[in-house]
């Protein structure tokens, strides 16, 4: 089975480092190198590096690229300045969430989208369908030709080779060099810390990775990637939201800009007008137990929702999670139970962003 898993350009390094590997969306990726907790804490206190090459990197270029993205995304790409980026959604006509993605405006008519590793073919087909035969919209999946590394943590700007990009604003991006490597750098991430995501030619994979680990930056795996993003209240598409949920239920209404005409707009307008019946919320366990994805949420013995993500939060030393509950139970502090091993365990609805840097 292992043979069928896709390997990132850094796969060999992960094995050299004796990382524990796992299947993530069809990719063989490290779940941890030494310990999830150690890796998590290092990112909160210093800096860690992640192989995020599993994420898709798709260039959308041409005279009509901006107008096209405005049509398929829930936020307007053309309002971005060159060198700026924003988190957007790709919604279906009925408002269901196909994916969330980062749109980077790299040049006037050059955009890069970075999206999740899953359902790449479906998403590419979706883009191509709406692009149609327009020759002024060029869509190129450059994922296989590139490597992508995230360097995250409060100490990133103390790293010698990142000093040159520390002028970048939050969510800013630039085509520049790190050492002699041509890179695209963005001040984005998925950990709740300051940090950068760096894309370069696949030939630079080892050199780029070791330019950070050589300075003592700790390699971090998917385990820490998950606990860090959960603490920071960040969503994982396919787990916390999918085609059966819409951005308002997912409490991501701020990612929907109702100006312009975009796919899913009329459905989303109606949903907004009608109001939502369920909402994605943070969950803090008050009883003894860890909520996990798929566990049931009950109120007074009646099943009312489900956990979408859950686990131990190292920074908080608490057990937290996310889940969908009926709108009338969505207020912060509402007492609920999570069914853990057939027993109800006390929990309460909490602010989804459990951790805020500098707070």
């Amino acid at each position: 089975m292992t043979e069928q898993l896709k390997k990132t350009p850094l796969n060999k390094i992960h094995h050299e480092l004796k990382a524990r590997m796992m299947d993530f969306a069809g990719w063989e990726l490290p779940v941890w190198y030494t310990s999830i907790l150690e890796e998590h804490r290092t990112v909160r206190s210093a800096a860690g590096t992640f192989d995020v090459s599993d994420m898709g990197r798709v260039w959308v270029t041409g005279k009509n690229a901006g107008a096209f993205l405005d049509r398929v995304l829930t936020r307007r790409a053309q309002t971005l300045d060159v060198g700026a980026s924003k988190l957007c959604m790709l919604c279906l006509e009925d408002g269901g969430i196909l994916d969330d993605l980062w749109a980077y405006r790299v040049g006037a008519d050059r955009y890069l989208i970075v999206w999740n590793a899953s359902h790449i073919e479906e998403k590419m087909a979706w883009l191509r369908r709406w692009a149609g035969p327009d020759r002024d919209i060029v869509i190129r999946d450059k994922s296989a030709a590139t490597v992508m590394v995230a360097v995250q943590g409060p100490a990133v700007c103390q790293l010698q080779n990142l000093k040159g990009v520390c002028h970048l604003a939050r969510f800013g991006n630039a085509e520049t060099r790190i050492g002699d490597m041509e890179v695209l750098v963005a001040r984005t991430g998925y950990t709740g810390e300051d940090g950068f995501e760096i894309i370069s030619d696949v030939a630079n994979a080892r050199k780029l990775w070791e330019s950070f680990t050589g300075q003592g930056v700790k390699p971090c795996g998917l385990g820490a990637r998950d606990t860090l993003r959960m603490e920071a209240g960040m969503m994982l598409c396919g787990q916390d939201m999918d085609k059966s949920t819409n951005p308002f239920e997912a409490d991501l209404g701020w990612l929907v800009e109702m100006d312009g005409d975009f796919i899913g707009k009329s459905a989303l307008l109606e949903i907004k007008h009608r109001g939502i019946k369920r909402k994605h919320v943070g969950i803090r366990m008050t009883g003894q137990g860890i909520a996990r994805s798929g566990y049931k949420i009950v109120k007074s013995g009646k099943e009312v929702g489900w956990v979408t993500s859950g686990g131990y939060a190292p920074t908080l030393n608490a057990n937290i999670g996310f889940g969908y509950v009926p709108i009338e139970l969505a207020a912060i502090g509402t007492k609920i139970d999570v069914i853990i091993r057939d027993k109800p365990v006390a929990a309460e609805v909490a602010r989804r962003q459990f951790y805020k840097r500098g707070a």
Partner: protein, 133 residues
């Protein structure tokens, strides 16, 4: 090397027989390595009857939930409160401070169904070999 006098299950639990037909139960080093950072243990209260090969409790690492099976039948005499309060003891000292429960054996002869440390080491070596293929 695993400690002498300990007996092991193929699910990587151990029991260390003590005088008076008692035994301490814990998780083997291999189990804690596989699980990674352990953050929660769900163990039976003192007085609970457990049965060899049947579920005794659960262990949760940051990443996953796993069943713990009883290496022998009997009554739980004592739960290691230190490990409940600080589950990482299982990672740090699986054969010592990381023990889970003490059991009064109802069928001491069952221990013959378990592997001794030499046999268990061989068993783990074979597993590890398979994984690295």
């Amino acid at each position: 090397m695993t400690p002498k006098d300990y007996k092991f299950t193929s699910e990587h639990e151990w029991i260390h027989p003590e005088s008076g037909n008692r035994g301490k139960v814990g998780l083997a080093d291999y189990a804690q390595t596989q699980l990674g950072d352990i953050v929660f243990l769900d163990l039976p209260a003192a007085g609970t009857q457990v049965t060899q090969g049947k579920k005794l409790g659960e262990v949760e690492s940051v990443k996953a939930v796993s069943d713990i099976f009883a290496p022998a039948s009997g009554k739980v005499l004592e739960v290691n409160q230190s490990v409940v309060d600080e589950p990482k003891l299982v990672n740090e000292d699986p054969y010592g401070a990381g023990w889970l429960v003490r059991v009064e054996l109802s069928k001491p002869a069952e221990l013959n169904n378990l592997m001794d440390n030499a046999k268990y080491d061989k068993f783990v070596a074979e597993l590890t070999e398979k994984q690295s293929e």
